[in-house]
C-alpha cells in the first residue's frame, strides 16, 4: 500500500481466444433467440412490435452514444484515470455505425410509429403542415444518415488514434484525439438532440420541448456508465484486468453514476417544472398523457427508481467501492433507464395505461446482443487496454484520496 506498486503490470492485456469464442457463442445464442422472438412479434402485432423495437433501439443506441460522450469528455479534461477501461468505451463508440442497420426497421415502420408520416393526416392538420418541412419521410431518413455519420466520424477518429498509439506510443495521437473531442462534443450533442427530437419526440408531433434532447442523452450517459461497470466487472469475474481496473476505478465510475443520476433528474425536472408553471395546454399535454391511469404510477415509480433510491444508495463511499452493491445499482439503473424510454414511447400506443408486452423484454435483449456481437468482434482486434497510452501507468496507479 505504501509503495503503490503497479499491480497492473502483472495483468495480461490480450484477450484470451478461448474466452473470446465462448462469450461470442453466448452473445450469438442470445441474439438468435431474442431476434427470432422479436421478429415473430412483428407478425403477431405489428404496431406493438414497432413501438417496443423503437424503445429498445433508443435504449441500446444511447448506451453507445454515452460511451462516446465519456471518451470525448476524458480527452477534453486530460483524464488519466479512465485509461485502463478506455478501450471498452472506444469499442462501444465504434459499434455505433452498426446502429444504421438497426435503424432500418424504424424506417420501415415509420407509418406505424409516426402520425406525421401520413399525408392525409397532415392535410387536415395546420400544425403538422407547418412542421412538414422538417417532419417528412424522406428528410427523416436522410437525417438519420447524417446523425450516424457524425457519431461515426468522431468515434472513428478517437478509436483510430488510440489503436495507432498502441503501436508507436506517439503522443501526437493523443493530441489528435483531443482535437477530435472539442468539435465532437458540440456536434455529437447536436446530432443526438435532433435524433431524440426525430425518433422520440415526434411520436407526439404536436408537442415540443427544447430540453428533450439533453434529457434523452443524460439517461443514455447514465446507462452507458452502468454498462461500462458491468462489462468491467464481467471481465473481472473471468479473471481479466483484475489488477488494472481496481476498486479505485470502480469508485470513480460509481461517482459518475451518482452524478449523472442527479443530472438526469435536474434536466427532466426542469422540463417538467417549466411546463407545469406555464400551464399551456399544448405543452402540458405530453405530461397529461403520462398521468392517465396506471401511467401515473409509472411516472411516480420513475422518480423513485431513477432518482430517490439511487441517490441515497450511491451517496456513501461504501456502496461505490463494494463491487457487489455497485453491480446491483448498475443493473437497477439500466432497467430504470429502459423504463424511462418505455414511458417516453408507449403512451402513444397504450394511452389508457401501462401495458407491458413480452416484446418489451425480447426487443432490448435483441438490440443489446446485436450491438454486443459487434462490440465483442472488434474488441479482439487490439489489446483490451490502450497499451501505448502515455497515461497508462498513471491510470494503473490511480488512487482516491
Amino acid at each position: 500500500m505504501a509503495a503503490h506498486p503497479h499491480h497492473g503490470e502483472t495483468d495480461s492485456f490480450e484477450l484470451d481466444a478461448g474466452l473470446w469464442a465462448k462469450v461470442r457463442n453466448i452473445i450469438l445464442f442470445c441474439f438468435l433467440i431474442s431476434a427470432t422472438a422479436t421478429a415473430a412479434g412483428y407478425f403477431l402485432d405489428a404496431k406493438q412490435f414497432f413501438h417496443s423495437y423503437l424503445a429498445a433501439f433508443m435504449w441500446g443506441t444511447r448506451i453507445l452514444l454515452g460511451a462516446l460522450f465519456f471518451l470525448m469528455a476524458g480527452y477534453l479534461a486530460g483524464a488519466a484515470w479512465n485509461v485502463t477501461f478506455r478501450r471498452f468505451s472506444e469499442t462501444m463508440a465504434m459499434t455505433i455505425p452498426y446502429g444504421l442497420i438497426l435503424f432500418i426497421p424504424v424506417a420501415l415502420g415509420i407509418h406505424e410509429l409516426y402520425h406525421w408520416s401520413h399525408p392525409e393526416a397532415v392535410a387536415h392538420d395546420k400544425v403538422l403542415q407547418g412542421k412538414a418541412a422538417w417532419l417528412n419521410t424522406n428528410f427523416f431518413i436522410l437525417r438519420a444518415g447524417i446523425y450516424f455519420a457524425v457519431w461515426t466520424f468522431f468515434a472513428w477518429g478517437i478509436y483510430r488514434n488510440s489503436t495507432a498509439m498502441d503501436q508507436d506510443k506517439d503522443i501526437r495521437h493523443m493530441h489528435s484525439s483531443s482535437r477530435f473531442a472539442a468539435p465532437g462534443m458540440l456536434l455529437v450533442f447536436l446530432a443526438t438532440s435532433f435524433a431524440a427530437f426525430d425518433w422520440l419526440m415526434s411520436l407526439d408531433p404536436h408537442w415540443f420541448s427544447t430540453m428533450y434532447g439533453i434529457y434523452i442523452y443524460a439517461g443514455g450517459g447514465l446507462a452507458s456508465m452502468c454498462a461500462l461497470v458491468l462489462i468491467s466487472l464481467a471481465f473481472r469475474r473471468a479473471g481479466v484486468l483484475k489488477n488494472s481496473i481496481t476498486e479505485e476505478h470502480y469508485h470513480d465510475l460509481g461517482k459518475w453514476m451518482f452524478a449523472i443520476t442527479v443530472f438526469w433528474t435536474y434536466v427532466s425536472f426542469s422540463q417538467y417544472m417549466l411546463y407545469w408553471y406555464a400551464n399551456i395546454p399544448e405543452e402540458t399535454i405530453w405530461f397529461k398523457h403520462r398521468f392517465v391511469g396506471s401511467w401515473l404510477h409509472v411516472s411516480k415509480w420513475l422518480v423513485f427508481a431513477h432518482f430517490v433510491f439511487p441517490l441515497f444508495f450511491l451517496i456513501t463511499r461504501k456502496t461505490k467501492r463494494n463491487l457487489g452493491t455497485l453491480a446491483f445499482m448498475a443493473v437497477w439503473l439500466l432497467v430504470a433507464d429502459y423504463l424511462d424510454i418505455h414511458w417516453n414511447v408507449m403512451p402513444t400506443l397504450h394511452p389508457k395505461g401501462f401495458a407491458p408486452h413480452w416484446l418489451d423484454v425480447t426487443a432490448p435483449v435483441a438490440v443489446a446482443s446485436f450491438y454486443g456481437f459487434f462490440f465483442w468482434n472488434r474488441l479482439k482486434n487490439h489489446a483490451i487496454v490502450p497499451v501505448g497510452d502515455v497515461r497508462l501507468h498513471q491510470a494503473l496507479a490511480h488512487h482516491n484520496l
Binding site: M1, A2, H4, Y272, M273, W276, I315, R317, H399
Partner: protein, 194 residues
C-alpha cells in the same frame, strides 16, 4: 476543540510561562521515507497520535499513520437535509399559512415550484457546512501550534517532510521516540516544548 486556544495564545506572549513537553517532530528526506517511517511507527510500533506535514498530499498517508476517515460527510448530509426541510417549511408557511395569496391560479403550496428552492438550500447548507465544518474539525483558524517550534517547520510548505508524534500518545517517551524516529531514517528529530 476550541476554535481559538486562548491558553496556547497566552503562553506565546508570557515569557514566564512554564515550558511543557509537547512531542517530537522528525524530518525525512522525501515522501517515500516519510510514508515508510509513518507506517512503521503506526503499524509496527503501535503509535496512534501521529501527524504528517508535507508540501503536497501523499497518497496512502492517512492509512499509514492511522488517521481515520473524516466524519464531515455525515455532518454535511444532516445539515444539507436540514436545508431541504427549511426550504419546504419556509415556502409552505409563508405561502400557504401566514399570508395565503393565490398567484396565477397556482396552488398555495406545491412541490413542483418548491423544488428549486429545496435544491438550492440543500446545496447552500451543504456547501457552508463543508467549508466551515472542515475548518472547525481541523481546529482552524489557529495562530500557533507547538510543531511550529521545530526549526525546519516552514520547510513543510516547500521541501520538508515532517512526522509529528504527540506526547498524548500512550507509547510516547521523549528520548526513546526520538531515537526510534532517527533509526527509521529521519534526517533530524527534535523534542518540542509548548
Amino acid at each position: 476543540m476550541a476554535l481559538l486556544e486562548m491558553d496556547g495564545l497566552k503562553r506565546i506572549f508570557d515569557p514566564n510561562a512554564p515550558k511543557e513537553l509537547w512531542g517530537v517532530v522528525a524530518e525525512f528526506e522525501d515522501e517515500q521515507a516519510l510514508l515508510n517511517a509513518g507506517e512503521a511507527m503506526h503499524h509496527k510500533h503501535g503509535y496512534t497520535k501521529l501527524d504528517a506535514l508535507t508540501p503536497f498530499p501523499v497518497h496512502g498517508m492517512e492509512a499509514a499513520i492511522g488517521i481515520p476517515r473524516s466524519i464531515l460527510g455525515y455532518i454535511v448530509i444532516c445539515i444539507g437535509l436540514t436545508g431541504t426541510i427549511t426550504a419546504v417549511l419556509l415556502q409552505w408557511w409563508t405561502g400557504a399559512v401566514d399570508y395565503p395569496l393565490v398567484i396565477a391560479g397556482k396552488p398555495l403550496f406545491a412541490f413542483e415550484f418548491a423544488m428549486p428552492i429545496m435544491f438550492e438550500l440543500s446545496v447552500l447548507f451543504s456547501a457552508f457546512t463543508c467549508v466551515f465544518g472542515m475548518l472547525a474539525l481541523n481546529g482552524l483558524p489557529k495562530f500557533f501550534h507547538p510543531a511550529m517550534q521545530f526549526p525546519k517547520f516552514a520547510r513543510a510548505t516547500d521541501d520538508g517532510f515532517l512526522l509529528v508524534v504527540e506526547k498524548s500518545d500512550p507509547k510516547f517517551s521523549a528520548v526513546e521516540t526520538r531515537q526510534l524516529l532517527m533509526s527509521l531514517g529521519a534526517t533530524s528529530a527534535e523534542i518540542v516544548e509548548d
